[in-house]
């Protein structure tokens, strides 16, 4: 029986949301193709996530347990994925399109002789090949692309598919793996501006995104207060990252993070197409901007034409009230 493999990234002991999305999609494809849906995990200890992966439909979990995977270093990740693919012999491997995956996908394709469709918005099996729609030309258009080959790798943009449960009895199979530290060649010295502990933008159910309209420390504080009352992650446009007001990890867009929260609130953000490419899968989009012609209003569910410095203080108070009544 052929195998469809979903790559699961583990963050703080749990599968990332994007991983559960691709696992759900892999399960649908496996059902249609009469294939086995399997997950693969590189982590220090996979036993803690097996139950959850089974709940999302993984019939099998291939695991490489090694402390080297606590941080992302591409050489051991590549070696482990190569071993995993050699062992599971999948016809298709589906990845969440994270920075860690983007780092290794090209090299992995060469090493395993696979064809690869990166950063797709949707994909399906068609006439023995994989067809996908992927944004191109700075996210102005979709290209319909087709990959042939015995092994195809696909990475999927966050929010392209819903994570849906479909319980299966997952069995775990540990893949033997040893990594010679001296063969590592590159060393990770440190991670700066780490958002560890804070709400991860890619996993957040609510995202507040700050644009050029957020001009100063007072504006930044309003954004942070709104994020706090909503339990939201904070994102921003490229211009605001460049100004140094928010860290580079906050950048949403074609060259930054792709977010797909239940609620996205764009604050003083114009909605350049490169930014919209990173948030247009959000369920509800609220835009607050002084300029009624700002392109963000073309994708917004609800638009408020107004000054964020006047709107946010009232919005923060109203949300606090609503939350108090609800609890």
């Amino acid at each position: 029986m052929p195998t469809i493999l979903a790559y699961v990234a583990v963050q703080n002991g749990s599968p990332s949301r994007g991983s559960l999305e691709v696992l759900s999609r892999a399960r649908q494809i496996a059902e249609n193709q009469g294939a086995i849906c399997a997950a693969c995990v590189l982590t220090a200890d996979a036993s803690s996530v097996v139950g959850e992966l089974g709940r999302y439909g993984a019939q099998k979990v291939y695991a490489v347990n090694n402390p080297v995977f606590r941080q992302h270093i591409n050489a051991p990740v590549l070696a482990a994925l190569e071993a995993m693919i050699g062992h599971a012999q999948p016809s298709l491997v589906v990845f969440p399109s994270s920075e860690g995956v983007k780092d290794v996908l090209g090299a992995l394709a060469v090493r395993t002789g696979a064809s690869v469709l990166p950063d797709v918005a949707s994909f399906e099996m068609k006439d023995g090949a994989v067809e996908a729609l992927r944004p191109v030309m700075a996210a102005k258009f979709m290209a319909r692309t087709r990959a042939e080959g015995a092994l195809v790798l696909v990475s999927v943009r966050a929010g392209s598919y819903e994570a849906t449960e479909s319980p299966a009895e997952a069995t775990i199979e540990e893949i033997p793996f040893s990594f010679d530290q001296s063969a590592l060649r590159q060393t990770l010295r440190e991670i700066v501006g780490s958002t560890a502990g804070a709400i991860d933008l890619a996993d957040a159910q609510v995202v507040i995104a700050a644009g050029r309209g957020v001009k100063d420390e007072a504006g930044k504080q309003l954004v942070e207060e709104l994020a706090e009352v909503l339990g939201a992650g904070i994102g921003s446009s490229r211009a605001v990252v460049e100004s140094g007001m928010f860290p580079a990890t906050a950048q949403i867009g074609q060259t930054g993070k792709v977010v797909s929260p239940d609620l996205y609130i764009g604050v003083g953000i114009s909605g350049a197409i490169q930014h919209v490419a990173g948030m247009s899968n959000s369920r509800t989009i609220v835009a607050i901007n002084t300029n009624p012609d700002a392109p963000i209003f073309d994708v917004a569910t609800y638009g408020i034409v107004g000054d964020l410095y006047k709107v946010l203080p009232i919005l923060i108070e109203e949300i606090k009230k609503k939350k108090t009544v609800a609890t």
């Binding site: 780092d103 394709a109 064809s115 191109v136 700075a138 590159q186």
Partner: protein
């Protein structure tokens, strides 16, 4: 350190582009140096400024792409290699990396740089593929580079923060446009570029592509939303009423 930067000519994505019969139509026909590659060229120039080392560039593309090599030379690169393919040749990332890997055989560069992706395809695979074919250690999505002895210190944008890596040379790094602001060539640079050597030769073997583009489509549109009218307090009250907050 000897640097070589792999560059690409791409359509100007800021120019008007339409879809006609599933194909992209660019009436303006403007083409530019891929912005991510421009950052790679800039970084190579900055890192070699204080030394006698030179920066080479290599490009795969049709005849008209020579102007993009001249752009990199005008910025300050020393010489270019143009691997000429017929107009509208379909190359996927695997084919591009294969051609470049063949080209790098017999050359001894300390650092190969390229953009993290091309603005037209946004695939971001070529760098990692090339590094793997050449057996080089590599890093992608770099936002900062420094030389320390015989290794490169790479700051890359990762999922949870900026990862600072030490990589021995020879190595390959793909560059983000957040790395720097590429210089605009001055008149002297433009004039000087005309005299710099460009080794141009048609490519004999063009690998076939396993990944093909079948056609182009418009982006899916969202169902239209609405403006919330009224005084600020009324707008906010209505909005909060509409939101499902858990």
């Amino acid at each position: 350190m000897k640097f070589c930067v792999c560059i690409k000519q791409v359509p100007d994505v800021t120019a008007p582009i339409q879809i006609r019969d599933g194909a992209l139509s660019m009436d303006a026909g403007r083409v530019v140096l891929n912005a991510y590659d421009a950052s790679a060229v800039e970084e190579a120039l900055v890192l070699t400024e204080a030394t006698d080392d030179e920066v080479d560039v290599v490009l795969i593309g049709p005849d008209r792409a020579t102007e993009t090599i001249r752009k990199a030379l005008a910025m300050g690169a020393a010489r270019g290699t143009h691997l000429v393919v017929p107009e509208s040749t379909e190359l996927d990332s695997a084919a591009v990396s294969k051609i470049l890997a063949d080209r790098f055989e017999g050359h001894s560069y300390d650092v190969i740089l390229t953009g993290k992706q091309a603005q037209d395809t946004d695939a971001g695979l070529g760098g990692g593929m090339l590094a793997e074919r050449l057996g080089l250690p590599f890093a992608t999505n770099a936002v900062g580079l420094a030389i320390e002895g015989n290794q490169l210190i790479v700051t890359r944008q990762g999922d949870t923060g900026q990862e600072i890596l030490a990589i021995p040379t020879p190595c390959l790094v793909t560059c983000s446009n957040d790395m720097n602001n590429p210089r605009i060539p001055n008149l002297k640079g433009v004039m000087g570029a005309k005299k710099k050597p460009v080794d141009s030769a048609p490519l004999a073997d063009i690998p076939s592509a396993a990944v093909r583009v079948l056609g182009f489509e418009s982006l899916p549109t969202r169902s239209p939303g609405r403006f919330i009218e009224g005084e600020t307090a009324e707008q906010v009250a209505e909005l909060v009423g509409l939101l499902e907050l858990s």
